[in-house]
Every structure is written in structure tokens, then in C-alpha cells.
């Protein structure tokens, strides 16, 4: 590990000041990703500002406008605390499921909500400094494009990067239409819809998201919805736990009588960002919740997929995962 300066932030303002002032400084929260990356020499910050003591860990209910409520989860709340919080379990079981299907219990106990959003891809070429990677070293080339790309993207990739975002939590947050609250240098807060938070690689894969240097995630706001009872997070992976998704699907359905009022479908393991299956959602609105309609919706979504040499299976697996997640969302059958 390269030598670096470490200090513990006493308040949000000074933490932001310090990171904003040094382009090579980073926030340190749970450390479950940044420390690994520093040991691998992938991340090379010369200064870490420890924000773990800041008071940004709570889960709070608040109102948006007149009648609508939302729940805010703190940027520094631990993943495990968030997943197990009664307000989350009751209102957003989809989020609980997604968080608990990620990493391991030990990692979830350390990892924070903000850190989960900012974790970097697990592409093995990104992690190995002996190989070219545009995300790590812009301009060096993408090794995965014509390399081993079984785990890589089928949507939204570019010639410069085919990596996927590794988070499960973020896939649920996308289905839940969450917004990310960040605080910047002037003390101003801004909100970024989660779907716009992460980026597609285009020709700048080194930039994962739209957070600016020095901006700190203070909270994630999740609006109330009507599909808590009809939601499911399905994750398919190579072993039963502690593995990244081959494909995952966060699904939620709002049913009125016999018809689907609203559908929410997001996918993980398929793109550089959590992938909102907007076409499938659109297809399902007004339809009856049947297997045939789920299949048709999955077809509509996956026809735009563009696989690489080793991940063609993600097309068929993705379709089946969408169908299964929608079925389980309705039956609420914990398999």
C-alpha cells in the first residue's frame, strides 16, 4: 500500500472541505472496497478522510409535499442496519432483500449505504494492475472487451469499457425510484435521482458516477410506494452466497383488480449501472399479471441486449429471471 495521510473528520463541513481541496483525497467510510483497491494499487489516494464518526447513519420517515411520505436512509448507515431496520423491512422489503443478498454478513456489517453506491466494478482486469484497463488507466484499452467477459455487460457498454456495476442494493434503489442527497463544498445540498447517479461508460469509463470531488452522500430518499407487498429481489449467481450476480432482478408490481397499474423492474449484473428495464415496465402497464405477459415483457426488454463472447447466456437467463422475479413478486413466495 502506498503511504497516505489519514485524518478523522469532526463534522460534515470540514470533511467536505478537505476532500474538495485535494484531488487525490478520498472519503473513508466502511472501507470494504477502497482498502482492497489500495492494497491492489488500483486506488492511490494520498489522503483519506475518515467520515465514520459523522452523524449520518439514521433511518428517518419524512413527508414530501402534502400527502406523500418518504424514508431517508443515512449515507453512513451500515448496510446490515439498513436492511434490518423495521421501517425498511416493512415499507421496502425489496431493499432489505437486495442488501442481504450482497457480499457477506461481515462485509455488510462494515459497509455503508453511501459506500455501496460508490463501490467500483469487480471486473478482474480493473483489479489487476498488470493488465490494460480504461477505467483504471484511461487510454490503456479494455482487456475484457475481447478477453474473459462472462461476468460483463450486455446493455449500454462501449468499446472502452464493458464492466458492470456490482451492487445489489443499488438495483433495488433504482426500482424504488430513490434519490441520492449529496452535500457539496458550499454546504449546498442537491438531490440526484438514482437512475442518473451512475453513468454508462461511453468514452470516460474512469468516471463511475456523477458525484463531484468533495461531495458527500448524506442520505438516500426513498418515496413511499404501493408495491411493497408485491416485490421481490432475485439474484442468480455461481454459488449460494458471497458471489456477484450473473443476473439479478428487482421487481415490484402495483396491481389494481386484474390489471397491472405500475411495474418496476431493474436489473443487476448486466450494465455499467443498475439497469432500469423501462421497456418491460411500459409493456406491463394495463396488462394482466400472467406468465405470458411476463414472458412478453422480458422479451421486449432483452431484445435490446448486445452480448459479448462469453456472456450470451445472460440474454436467456435475464428473460427467465425477469419472469421469475415478477412471479415471486406476486406470490411473495420466498424460495
Amino acid at each position: 500500500m502506498r503511504p497516505f495521510k489519514y485524518s478523522r473528520a469532526e463534522d460534515v463541513h470540514s470533511a467536505i472541505q478537505k476532500v474538495a481541496a485535494n484531488p487525490n483525497a478520498k472519503f473513508l467510510a466502511g472501507g470494504t472496497n477502497i482498502l482492497d483497491l489500495m492494497k491492489e494499487d488500483v486506488e492511490r489516494p494520498d489522503e483519506l478522510i475518515d467520515v465514520t464518526r459523522l452523524d449520518l447513519a439514521g433511518v428517518k420517515m419524512s413527508s414530501i409535499g402534502v400527502s406523500k411520505k418518504s424514508i431517508a436512509i443515512g449515507g453512513l448507515g451500515k448496510n446490515s442496519d439498513t436492511a434490518n431496520h423495521p421501517l425498511i423491512r416493512q415499507n421496502f422489503p425489496l431493499l432489505s432483500q437486495a442488501i442481504l443478498s450482497g457480499a457477506s454478513a461481515q462485509i455488510r456489517n462494515m459497509a455503508t449505504n453511501g459506500g455501496n453506491l460508490n463501490q467500483r466494478t469487480r471486473c478482474s482486469y480493473f483489479y489487476d494492475v498488470s493488465m490494460p484497463c480504461n477505467k483504471r488507466e484511461p487510454g490503456s484499452g479494455c482487456s475484457a472487451l475481447e478477453g474473459i467477459n462472462r461476468m460483463h455487460a450486455v446493455f449500454g457498454w462501449s468499446k472502452d469499457c464493458v464492466a458492470v456495476h456490482p451492487s445489489d442494493m443499488c438495483v433495488a434503489l433504482v426500482a424504488l425510484d430513490a434519490t441520492v442527497r449529496v452535500q457539496g463544498i458550499e454546504g449546498k445540498e442537491r438531490s440526484i435521482p438514482i437512475i442518473d447517479y451512475h453513468r454508462l461508460p461511453d468514452n470516460m469509463p474512469q468516471i463511475d458516477n456523477n458525484l463531484k470531488q468533495g461531495e458527500l452522500i448524506t442520505a438516500i430518499d426513498i418515496p413511499e410506494n404501493n408495491f411493497a407487498g408485491n416485490s421481490y429481489y432475485l439474484k442468480i449467481r455461481d454459488r449460494a452466497s458471497y458471489a456477484f450476480a450473473l443476473v439479478s432482478v428487482a421487481a415490484g408490481l402495483e396491481i389494481n383488480g386484474d390489471s397491472i397499474q405500475q411495474a418496476r423492474i431493474a436489473m443487476g449484473g448486466v450494465a455499467h449501472k443498475p439497469w432500469r428495464a423501462a421497456e418491460a415496465e411500459k409493456f406491463l402497464v394495463g396488462k394482466t399479471p400472467t406468465q405470458e405477459n411476463y414472458k412478453a415483457a422480458a422479451e421486449v426488454e432483452m431484445r435490446n441486449a448486445d452480448p459479448l463472447e462469453h456472456n450470451k447466456f445472460k440474454i436467456e437467463l435475464g428473460k427467465r429471471a425477469i419472469v421469475r422475479a415478477l412471479q415471486l413478486a406476486i406470490s411473495n413466495n420466498m424460495s
Binding site: M1, R2, P3, D41, R122, S124, Y125, Y127, D128, S130, M131, S143, E146, G147, I148, R150, I236, R237, D238, R239, A240, S241, Y242, A243, F244, L246, F313, E316, L317, R320, A321, V323, R324, S335
Partner: protein, 719 residues
């Protein structure tokens, strides 16, 4: 008739167990010495070529750095003689002697610093320029260069044949011809390799995580031209080896070199990533199996033809076809091995080398044939049971594979199986049953031991000393049990001292010979002590006396003796193998391809079971790795660069707890009167053998889909 054992066989808990769970058991990297320095290897970032230059200026200026050793300033070591079966573990292993790169991650230097972090950081500052060659990595691209090697691992012959395979196939009513692929796998013991080395004058002390003390000592002696007598190798505790710690590795030689050059103690602990690149692997085996039978299932022909890879640096070939030479009676047989060289690191013994990949091909093919013949897989195997070892015509010392299949079938509930694939469901899960029979050679080797008996205020205690290792298998405990049994003392009165090369020599732990070899030496030396004491005693005993009576009769407060034992000439006349049968129930998600294994049953016949608890743990751990082999484990290389994309446990998937269901192990009562004094056959490798085939067979029964390329990941089961 052997007397009935009281202590041998009983499930005594590990005598060193509480040291381990309280963190007091010190492993190689956990010792400390004044002025200890830390080594961190510099690795090649290319896979084939030459080092053009190494720039160490920045690294040398880095804080805490004491020395950077490269081929420029390395000690001149003894040249490496050509590898033979006999010298593979002990020949000189001269590191940093030239600029040639033959595989990715090869050590090309060692940074020595005051702290581990300083050494690791400085290693990154070493700048190397290379002349790069295109590496030979891809299996299919290099297949054309396959040649016939002279000999395989452990002296197994390259090719064998009897009868006439082709005419056997021609006569057959049913013929099967399929190809099976088992991928590269890594050992990944819990404890990564580590070394501490220091000189005191001419004398060298080495703490090393090694399976064999004696060969480690010899390899150091041969590399550095030091008399063996001046070297002591210590390994009191070892956190698993699985074959990766049989041969002294290059980090050890780097550390000894640094200790010699700086005349201070040096510690080198390698990283998990280096465990993928520098300590050996199980190679990819491509195996073609052909089976021909009569209508009733009698085998007429069996061939097992293997192509695999070795390193440009050293030839090592596991005996993957060996199991097809001894498992079934067949009049026409052909087993061959071919190999080509690559810039992948040299393969190494990996838990049940040969049998683990070989049994996947053979036992899958047997299941495929049973299905075609519409014969129950157990009946099919039973029908082709050989009365003697078909390979060498030696009689079996003991072979209880049919009994294992029967016992396992009964315990598992095999009669509930529907032989028609896709015929059993539980909701969206397709349920399948599968089985396979297992075997593994049961070698026993020469070893020695010392016993020291003390009588202090009528408190008789015994101390057993031998240069054995406990690689997590339970050596400490079984040695204590055998000594207690023989001496007539409780286990608590036995002190076991192992893990020190200065003690009476043994061949260490590997190849499933450890348990039988150690305990027979201990058994022999205890008996020797008793006989010697009896000779000194003037009393005539009516019943066989214990050590307490003998010490009293001899009026001694202290007595010690040393002895050794080797396999008898009689034992050479027989074939010695452990046998077993595995049964699995699998559930396969019909649309998502996810596999669950809710239960697994193993019936095992391995002669005398020394400790039911530790033996059971051995089998369970073998089954767990077998499940990994079947479903999750694969090292993947990028053929352009020659390095791994599976460098960590996030990418190289060993099974996690949630992947493992209920594993039941049953030991058959079996007496082997010729293998050794105690009738011990060993269980270290039998547990993994044929597990992958068992699971693949069960998956076929569940889904009708036959997967011949491991691992069976969900994408391969999208039906």
C-alpha cells in the same frame, strides 16, 4: 486375530484443538525474533520472455528498505539437475539465477525491509523492462504439440493396454464415446505459504508451512550447498496443504537467500493472489472415454485417453487415467496420457492427483452407460467387479467397494430413485439422485519414532517424538491414541512432539500415507519399548503388562527408545486401495439452472479407522471440495496475457456454507491384514474422489442434461 482396540478408533477430540481455537497454535508466519526483517517478492508481469533490465533505485530509496535481491546480486546457487520421479521434491531450486520468464507471476526479486508494509510498497517501485514473447496458454491452440511423456507422477506408466480395444468395441452391443473436461483448479489452503529463516553461524533454522520436513531440508541443502545436518526445519502447525506444500517453493529459497545475505532473520508470507500464481495447480485434463459392453452390461472394452498441459519449465503429469486401470474388470483396455507444454506454472499434486479428474470422466461415463443399458448404476458396477487388480494382477489386500455401494444405498435411500430423468419434482425444483464409486491408492511408507517414558512419583507419562506434520488432519491426536493404546496409558498422559526435522524421520503428510505411516511407526516403537523393558524385568507376567507395570518392574524412572518400521515384503504382494461410494440428492431450478445439494452420503472402507471424528472430518472436507469441483471452482486464464482473471476468492469460487447441505459419512468395518501393523489405509484423498461425478450423475437424473465440462454453473443448465 488382532486384539480389540479401546482407544484407537474412538472419536477423541483433537488434543491440540484448544490451542487452535484460542489462537495459541503458532503457524509459520506467527513466530517472531529480534531484528526480524520482512521479505516481499517482486513478480513478473509478463508470462514469457526475458528480463531486459531491472531498475531498483526508487525502491532502494524507499523507507525501511534494507536490500533488494534480483538476478544481478543474487547468491549463486547450485544448478538444477533434470527432474526425475525421485528428485522432484529435493532437487536444487535455484531462484533468481537468470533472466528467463516462463510464467506469469514468477518471482524475479525479493525486497527486504524493516516492516511488511515497507517491503510490499517498495516491491511496487521496482521497475522492470522485458523482452516479451507470445505466451503459450490456450489449450486448443497448443494441443497439436502434445507428446507422449516417459512417465507420470508417482511413477505411474504413461500408457497401458491389454486385449485389443478396437476389437472389443466392435464386439460390443452398446458403445459410448464421450469427452470430459476438468478445468484448472487451485489448492487454496486456509494458511498461505510462509517462511522464516535465520542463520546462527553455519546453522540454519527455517520455520516453513510444509507437509514434509525431510524433503524441505534436503531441497534447501541441495540449493544452497549446505550440509543437511546444519539445517532444522520447523512446522508445528500447518493450515492445510492439499499438495501445494509438498514441494519446497521458491519463496522459501528467496527467504533463505535473504537471511544469508543480510545475516538477519527474514520472514516472507505470500499473498492470496500469489497462491494462484506460485504454488502449483491442478491442470486442465481433457479426457476421452470409450466404453463397450455386452447387452447384459458386462464390460468388453474401456479406454481413457487424456491430454493435458505442463510447464515449459518442468514436466509434471498427474495420473488421471490410473483409476481406469484398476476399477473394473475389462478384457480390452487402453489408457494413455499425452501432454503439451505451456507458459502456465508447473502443475502440482492437488488432493488425489489423478483420481480427482480421472474419476469424474470414468464415473460419469459409467453412469451414462448404465442409463443406456437401463441397468441400475450399482448393479452395472457390481457386474464388472474385478477379482484381482486388472493392472498388475495382484490380489486386493481388501476391497469393499460393493459393500460400500450397498451400505451407502441403504443409508441414502437409493431405492427411492426413479431412473427416468426429469421424473421427480418439488415445485419448480427438479430432483435427482446420483451415485459413483470411489477409490484411492493406499500407500504406506517407512518411518521412525522415539518414545520417552518418565516415572515421576508413580506418575507415568510418555512422550512421542517424530518428524511428522499435522496439516489439519489430526496427526497429533491419532499418534497420541495409538501410543496410549499400546502403552496402556490414557491419552492425556501422552505428549506428542512433531513438526521438527531434527526428530526421527518420516515421509511427512501427503498422498494419504501420513496417518498409516505415522501410527505404525509409533505402534512399533511402543511395542519395542515394552519388549525392551520386559527384557530388563525379572518378573514373569501372567497377563500382558502395561508400561506402568513394566517401568515398575524394571525399576526405572526414565526410559527411551527409537525404532522404525517399513512396509513388509508380504504387503508388496498385494494391491492396496481405499474404496468408497458416494450418493447425492440434487435439486435443480428448472428455469434458472441453480443447483442445490440438500444431502450427500458417503460409505467408506479404509481399513482401521484411527479416530472416527477426524476421519469423518477428512471425508466431509473431501466431499466439500468435490462439490466445489462439481459446481463452482475454475481458474480462468486470459490467453493473451497468461495471467488469471480468478485471482481472489471473489472470482475463484470455493463453496460457501450455504452451498453445503447435510453430509453423512459411514465407515465400513474392514480389516486389512497386509498393508501395515494396524491395518490403516488412509482417508485424506478418498473423500474427494468421484464426488463431482456423483453430482453430475444426479444432475442428469434430475434434468436429463449431461454436463461433461466442469464446473456445472447455472449457465450450463439453462434447459
Amino acid at each position: 486375530m488382532r486384539e480389540k482396540h479401546k482407544i484407537i478408533g474412538s472419536p477423541v477430540s483433537r488434543i491440540e484443538g484448544h490451542l487452535k481455537v484460542t489462537g495459541k497454535a503458532a503457524y509459520a508466519a506467527e513466530f517472531s525474533f529480534p531484528h526480524l526483517m520482512y521479505g516481499f517478492p517482486v513478480q513478473s508481469t509478463i508470462t514469457a520472455g526475458e528480463i531486459k533490465s531491472i531498475d531498483v533505485i526508487a525502491a532502494e530509496r524507499s523507507p525501511g528498505v534494507l536490500k533488494i535481491i534480483t538476478h544481478h546480486n543474487a547468491l549463486k546457487l547450485m544448478p538444477r539437475p533434470p527432474v526425475t520421479h525421485a528428485n522432484r521434491m529435493t532437487r536444487s531450486n535455484p531462484v533468481l539465477q537468470n533472466t528467463r520468464i516462463h510464467c506469469f507471476g514468477q518471482y524475479i526479486g525479493l525486497v527486504v525491509a524493516e516492516t511488511y508494509e515497507q517491503a510490499r510498497f517498495a516491491a511496487r517501485l521496482v521497475k522492470v523492462s522485458y523482452k516479451t514473447e507470445r505466451p503459450k496458454i490456450d489449450f486448443d491452440e497448443n494441443l497439436k504439440d502434445a507428446y507422449k511423456p516417459e512417465i507420470l507422477n508417482a511413477g505411474h506408466p504413461t500408457d497401458t493396454s491389454w486385449g485389443d480395444l478396437e476389437s472389443g468395441l466392435k464386439q460390443s452391443a452398446e458403445i459410448l464415446s464421450e469427452t470430459y473436461n476438468t478445468p484448472i483448479e487451485q489448492h487454496n489452503p486456509m494458511e498461505p505459504h510462509a517462511t522464516i529463516a535465520f542463520f546462527e553461524g553455519e546453522r540454519l533454522t527455517v520455520y516453513e508451512s510444509t507437509q514434509i520436513l525431510g524433503t524441505t531440508k534436503e531441497a534447501i541443502a541441495n540449493t544452497f550447498n549446505i550440509p543437511k545436518e546444519n539445517i532444522q526445519v520447523l512446522a508445528p502447525f500447518i493450515g492445510g496443504g492439499f499438495g501445494s506444500k509438498l514441494q519446497p517453493r521458491e519463496h522459501l529459497m528467496l527467504t533463505v537467500m535473504a537471511a544469508k545475505m543480510l545475516n538477519r532473520p527474514v520472514k516472507t508470507a505470500i499473498t492470496r493472489q500469489m497462491m494462484q500464481t506460485n504454488v502449483g495447480l491442478r491442470q486442465h485434463n481433457r479426457q476421452k472415454v470409450r466404453i463397450g459392453t455386452e447387452k447384459d452390461g458386462k464390460l468388453l472394452a474401456l479406454s481413457h485417453e487424456i491430454v493435458t498441459h505442463t510447464s515449459v519449465d518442468e514436466e509434471f503429469i498427474e495420473q488421471s487415467g490410473a483409476i481406469s486401470r484398476m476399477m473394473y474388470e475389462v478384457p480390452n483396455s487402453l489408457v494413455t496420457h499425452r501432454v503439451f507444454t505451456t507458459n502456465i506454472q508447473v502443475p502440482r499434486w492437488t488432493r488425489a492427483p489423478g483420481e480427482t479428474p480421472g474419476s469424474f470422466a470414468l464415473e460419469s461415463a459409467m453412469d451414462e452407460m448404465a442409463h443406456r443399458l437401463k441397468i441400475d448404476p450399482i448393479e452395472f458396477r457390481t457386474k464388472n467387479e474385478p477379482s484381482v487388480n486388472p493392472e498388475n494382477k495382484k490380489p486386493w489386500a481388501s476391497r469393499s467397494v460393493i459393500e460400500c455401494m450397498r451400505m451407502g444405498a441403504e443409508k441414502f435411500g437409493w431405492n427411492m430413485r426413479n431412473s427416468e430423468p426429469m421424473s421427480t419434482r418439488n415445485g419448480r425444483w427438479l430432483v435427482g439422485y446420483g451415485m459413483a464409486s470411489a477409490s484411492r491408492g493406499a500407500p504406506c511408507r517407512e518411518a521412525s519414532a522415539r518414545v520417552k517414558i518418565t516415572n515421576s512419583n508413580k506418575n507415568i507419562r510418555a512422550r512421542i517424538e517424530l518428524a511428522a506434520t499435522d496439516i489439519g488432519t489430526g496427526s497429533y491426536t491419532i499418534i497420541a491414541q495409538v501410543a496410549a493404546e499400546r502403552l496402556g496409558l490414557p491419552v492425556e498422559k501422552i505428549k506428542v512432539i512433531i513438526g521438527d526435522s531434527d526428530l526421527p524421520p518420516t515421509p511427512g503428510s501427503g498422498g494419504s500415507w501420513g496417518a498409516g505411516t505415522y501410527t505404525n511407526a509409533v505402534d512399533a516403537v511402543c511395542e519395542k519399548a515394552k519388549n525392551e523393558l520386559l527384557g530388563k524385568s525379572k518378573i514373569k507376567f501372567v497377563n500382558e503388562p502395561g508400561i506402568t507395570e513394566l517401568m515398575k518392574a524394571a525399576a526405572l524412572n526414565e526410559y527411551q527408545t527409537e525404532g522404525s518400521v517399513k512396509p513388509s515384503e508380504e504387503s508388496e504382494k498385494y494391491s492396496h486401495f481405499s474404496f468408497g461410494a458416494h450418493f447425492a440428492e440434487v435439486w435443480v431450478d428448472e428455469s434458472l439452472g441453480i443447483v442445490k445439494i440438500p444431502r450427500f452420503t458417503s460409505a467408506i472402507a479404509a481399513g482401521t479407522i484411527l479416530n472416527e471424528k477426524t476421519a469423518r472430518s477428512q471425508i466431509i472436507s473431501g466431499v466439500v471440495w468435490g462439490i466445489g469441483q462439481a459446481l463452482t471452482e475454475e481458474s480462468v486464464l486470459d490467453k493473451r496475457y497468461g495471467n488469471y482473471v480468478t485471482r481472489t476468492f471473489a472470482d475463484y469460487h470455493v463453496p460457501v456454507n450455504l452451498d453445503i447441505g447435510n453430509i453423512e459419512v459411514y465407515f465400513l468395518h474392514e480389516e486389512d491384514k497386509t498393508i501395515n501393523r494396524l491395518g490403516v489405509k488412509g482417508v485424506g484423498e478418498l473423500g474427494i474422489t468421484s464426488v463431482a461425478a456423483t453430482i453430475a450423475n444426479a444432475i442428469f437424473n434430475a434434468t436429463g442434461k449431461r454436463i461433461r465440462d466442469l464446473p456445472i454453473t447455472p449457465d450450463k443448465l439453462l434447459l
